[in-house]
């Protein structure tokens, strides 16, 4: 396009005689839509080499011009290149307007950024496309783990759940392309069902400040967005293939995007991953293979003032769970924990046997928006999600190949959002949302339902305002209200129903008695308010101080309400309580950030106080015909999490840079005055990065990650009698493992293969020294070491 414009200019240029040749031409370039100054616009005078750029104020100056007519070509990365005819006579002032095409389609950008800020008074952490690509063979959790303040709760290498400032599962909301993920995230072994390769940008907000997404994110919000597509005639794509040594697997990922100047665009993406049994430094981890197949498609039409987009994605995986972690009662646990190596080690295999999970998550969304003249942008969205979760245990007889858990969760959401974007000083966002959800646990499994049948209705509304009080001070405030109604059908064991005195307390919800079970129909209502208040103050050029208070309310999840029986993968009996009310969190977060070229850092202390915090803890040991099992019961208490995240970055020279991260969180149960379980231990990450853009973008990094031992933990150990030895043994699953240190190496280099294609080759070695370690936050740490060294070779072709 640019070439074409130049050609026209060249052909039409007229040479004239000149007399006075020390004139200047000055002016500014603004956006035709909102009059904003455009920075970095290139202006070139046709037939000369003279070229200038607009500065930070949008102003340009040409000097030494004659009294003449000039043809000027004006170009900007996000605008269509245009030619103008200018008559210069003495010093001339002339301003130009360009159509500043939002470089991206879809949800209009704010302030010229490709991905808009989600909250004005909380420092957001983001991972861009290049950073995400380094994790293309991993999971969403692995990528998030690279940010300070984020750890992960793992079940092997396949189930990686993000923990934000000490909180996880239901306390974290994940927005996938504008859709709130409803994928049964309550379970500690239920990983987010998102393909990392479908993401173009990932934003993390620690806390609930972004009320436009949800009011119940006491832990935080993760926003996954697909890569943006520019409005221009283009066709491009990329394909990458990775070989993974640990697990002897391969991963393929491909994306192709077509967009047109008339506003239509399409992007199709697919990925495949297959690995076999992975290895710890000293032994094979049997049955830890992974198979993943994902695809997504996006079709849309974008104009500056209106647009529509449809998105569909399917995520399908099969995850093997370490065979040696599938145990019977407490006696088996004693054996498993005491054994220095896993109880079951088989030969290497690609088979994914029981215990395993098979999850299919489908997501569809249609969004349309319209720019309302002088007011703002109005958008409507409908989305649909279908989550099917199958869990296979080791079973007997005819049930051998039958899933023990078969859940189907269907969610429909409609929402309308409005935001103003015309004023430079204040900005309002508001919206309403309605959601319908149905969970269907298939009784054909032959195992009592872990999560009952239910239908859930949500209705919510929010309003947020941010305003620039002065050049350096932004204030943000917002409120949200959500109403949730649940209509549940739950079978209780009569013995449990009576032991809890529910027969006296809640006789009205009984529908009928069926054998030794009671069918009940609880109808639950939750009224949740949430709010945020914050300020951002800029000072001394590069410094910014963020303050934010957020109030978040979360309704209890089905697992906390209705658990009642053996949770096989955890080898324990879990009991919920349907009388729980919503937990309410108050988080104060302060951030000091210096974004200086020579040394940048951010320090983020926070304190999060959560009333009626729902936690699960052991209360008893229960004797059954299958042996003894520990009983864990959910309880509400007042909890407090205090911590700090520190990031720092120091460029030694143009090519060498040091990055540092430190995170610390302490969590306490304030009612009982004891530490909370599963709090991430303090950790350091230090990295040295060499990057040479002159030499094929060569990038080499070496990272050292040190994880301290968690010294504060509740002691939940218990004793069990072992008949073989006629002794009582302690089942020690509380004591955290030792501190560990890992080295990770990463490198990549680009090759230009043709005019339009580029090849990137990357080599990554994780756990370089093949260190044996166990991670406190891994549920398999009792039975096996974590992963050993892994070589990952990736070849990526951009075209």
């Amino acid at each position: 396009m640019r070439n074409y414009a130049l050609l026209v200019l060249l052909l039409s240029s007229i040479t004239t005689l000149s007399q006075n040749c020390d004139n200047t031409l000055t002016g500014k370039v603004t956006d035709i839509h909102d009059g904003q100054m455009l920075i970095g616009v290139t202006l070139t005078i046709a037939n000369t080499e003279q070229s200038v750029q607009t500065g930070l104020d949008g102003i340009f100056t040409f000097s030494n011009l004659c009294d003449d007519t000039y043809y000027i070509q004006i170009s900007h990365p996000y605008c269509l290149t245009k030619g103008f005819k200018v008559r210069v006579f003495e010093d001339t002032n002339k301003s130009f307007k360009l159509e500043h095409h939002i470089e991206e389609l879809n949800q209009i950008t704010i302030e010229g950024k490709a991905y808009s800020n989600k909250s004005k008074t909380v420092l957001e952490s983001t991972l861009n496309k290049e950073e995400l690509e380094r994790f293309s063979t991993g999971t969403l959790g692995n990528a998030l783990n690279s940010l300070s303040g984020v750890s992960s709760l793992n079940t092997g290498n396949g189930v990686v759940k993000p923990i934000i400032n000490g909180l996880h599962s239901s306390r974290i909301v994940i927005m996938n392309n504008g859709v709130r993920m409803e994928d049964q995230r309550w379970g500690s072994e239920h990983a987010p069902n998102i393909d990392i390769n479908s993401a173009g940008n990932l934003t993390l907000i620690k806390g609930a400040a972004a009320l436009q997404y949800s009011g119940d994110a006491t832990g935080g919000i993760i926003i996954v967005e697909a890569p943006r597509i520019a409005v221009k005639d283009t066709l491009f794509g990329k394909t990458s293939i990775s070989g993974i040594s640990n697990g002897r697997g391969v991963s393929i990922n491909s994306r192709i995007t077509k967009s047109n100047l008339n506003g239509w665009y399409t992007s199709i993406q697919g990925s495949l991953k297959r690995t076999g049994d992975t290895e710890a430094p000293n032994y094979l981890l049997s049955n830890t293979g992974v198979s993943e197949r994902n695809a997504s498609i996006k079709i849309g039409f974008n104009r500056f003032d209106y647009g529509i987009e449809a998105y569909y994605s399917i995520f399908k995986n099969q995850l093997g769970i370490l065979r040696a972690s599938h145990l019977g009662g407490a006696g088996d646990q004693v054996r498993g924990i005491a054994s220095p190596i896993p109880l079951i080690i088989n030969d290497f295999s690609y088979d994914i046997d029981a215990p395993r999970q098979e999850v299919t998550h489908q997501l569809g969304r249609i969004i349309g928006y319209k720019e309302l003249n002088r007011r703002g942008k109005l958008s409507f969205q409908y989305d649909y999600q279908l989550n099917n979760r199958l869990e296979y245990d080791i079973r007997r007889g005819d049930d051998r190949n039958k899933a023990s858990t078969d859940l189907e969760l269907i969610t429909h959401t409609v929402q309308a959002n409005f935001e103003t974007n015309k004023s430079n000083t204040h900005h309002i966002k508001t919206g309403i949302i309605g959601r319908y959800q149905k969970n269907y646990p298939d009784p054909g499994t032959g195992i009592r339902r872990l999560i009952p049948d239910y239908t859930k209705y949500d209705l919510g509304g929010y309003a947020m305002l941010d305003t620039n009080i002065s050049e350096s001070l932004i204030i943000e405030l917002g409120g949200r209200f959500d109403y949730t109604h649940m209509n549940v059908y739950k079978f209780y064991r009569t013995s449990f129903w009576e032991s809890r005195n529910y027969d006296i307390l809640l006789p009205e919800i009984v529908v009928e008695e069926v054998g030794a079970q009671i069918l009940t129909q609880p109808k639950l209502n939750y009224y949740n308010s949430s709010a945020t208040l914050g300020a951002t103050y800029s000072f001394k050029d590069n410094y910014k101080l963020f303050f934010n208070y957020s109030l978040a309310s979360r309704a209890p999840n089905p697992s906390e309400l209705f658990s009642e029986g053996l949770h096989h993968s955890a080898s324990r009996i879990e009991l919920g309580d349907l009388r729980f009310n919503s937990e309410v969190g108050h988080k104060f977060a302060l951030t000091l950030r210096n974004n200086n070229k020579n040394f940048s850092f951010s320090i983020q202390p926070y304190i999060n106080t959560i009333n009626d915090f729902i936690l699960i803890e052991p209360v008893d040991v229960r004797q059954t015909i299958r042996g003894n099992f520990q009983v864990w019961e959910y309880r509400q208490t007042n909890a407090q999490l205090i911590g700090v995240d520190v990031d720092a970055s120091y460029p030694i020279n143009k090519k060498l840079k040091l990055n540092h991260q430190f995170s610390l969180v302490k969590g306490y149960d304030r009612s009982r005055n004891q530490p909370l379980i599963n709090m991430p231990p303090a950790n350091f990450k230090n990295e040295i990065v060499y990057k040479n853009s002159a030499y094929n973008n060569l990038r080499i990094s070496l990272q050292s990650a040190y994880v301290f031992r968690q010294n504060e933990f509740p002691n939940n150990n218990f004793e069990v009698y072992i008949p073989e030895t006629e002794t009582s043994e302690i089942v020690d699953f509380s004591t955290p493992p030792n501190a560990y240190h890992l080295l990770n190496f990463n490198s990549s280099i680009d090759f230009k293969t043709s005019n339009k294609t580029a090849l990137t080759v990357g080599l990554e070695i994780s756990n370089l020294l093949n260190t044996s370690y166990r991670n406190y936050l891994s549920r398999l740490r009792l039975y096996a070491d974590d992963l050993g060294r892994n070589f990952l070779l990736t070849i990526k072709l951009n075209y």
């Binding site: 599938h326 145990l327 019977g328 009662g329 006696g331 088996d332 054996r335 109880l343 079951i344 109005l378 409507f380 409908y382 080791i394 007997r396 007889g397 269907i410 429909h412 409609v414 309308a416 309403i432 309605g434 319908y436 149905k438 009784p443 499994t445 032959g446 195992i447 009592r448 339902r449 049948d453 239908t455 209705y457 209705l459 059908y489 079978f491 064991r493 013995s495 449990f496 032991s499 529908v511 009928e512 069926v514 054998g515 030794a516 079970q517 069918l519 029986g565 053996l566 009996i573 229960r622 004797q623 059954t624 015909i625 299958r626 042996g627 003894n628 099992f629 008949p723 073989e724 006629e726």
Partner: protein, 196 residues
């Protein structure tokens, strides 16, 4: 106003479409569960009476503990023929689960752990298709009577353990030593018995 109308219509419509199925869900039939294990110890000497050990846990992992009964005492210096029957009594009529173990004989084995104060020994009386024991049938031989001291110290227990997918080839396992058996415990029941 239009938005509100549109939304309320949409929500109402979705509520109508998706909430019609008001049928109560069906209870789950737990076909795999073993609720009851009955061990009959029949003396070779038909002058004396059989001893029946039974554990019954009708609510599975529910709060009720298993009901354990021992019909009587064993006599010293006798041989008993033991057989194990497993039932699922959550179904009506109760389903005999013993056959399932026999069908998957390679993947199952019973172990009998005898307390140090109990002067008795056991021997397997059956074998799977590879010639290793299953343990549904066995013999129990008693010698001297239990001492008062042993009874007091609770050393006269006999524990029956059913292991799923044990390593039958491991050392001692075929002879009934559970130490190296590994696998996963499907049943574990302890009975306090007396030899008199």
């Amino acid at each position: 106003m239009k938005i509100v109308q549109f939304l309320s219509t949409a929500i109402f419509a979705s509520a109508l479409i998706f909430s019609c199925s008001s049928d109560d869900p069906d209870p789950v039939v737990e076909e795999e569960v073993i609720t009851t294990m009955t061990i009959t110890l029949e003396p070779f000497d038909d002058q004396i009476s059989s001893v029946i050990l039974q554990t019954q846990d009708l609510d599975g992992d529910g709060p009720d503990i298993p009901e354990v009964t021992v019909s009587g005492n064993l006599l010293e210096n006798k041989m008993y023929y033991g057989s194990i029957v497993l039932l699922n009594e959550t179904e009506d009529p109760a389903e005999n689960m013993t056959g399932e173990i026999e069908e998957e004989d390679l993947a199952h084995q019973f172990f009998y752990t005898i307390g140090s104060g109990l002067n008795a020994s056991t021997e397997y009386n059956d074998e799977d298709t590879e010639g290793n024991p299953i343990g549904l049938d066995f013999t129990l031989t008693t010698t001297a009577a239990s001492s008062g001291q042993d009874l007091l110290l609770n050393l006269t227990d006999i524990t029956f353990t059913l292991r799923h997918e044990p390593v039958k080839s491991a050392e001692g396992v075929a002879d009934g030593d559970i130490t190296n058996a590994e696998g996963e415990t499907d049943i574990e029941a302890t009975f306090t018995v007396t030899i008199e």
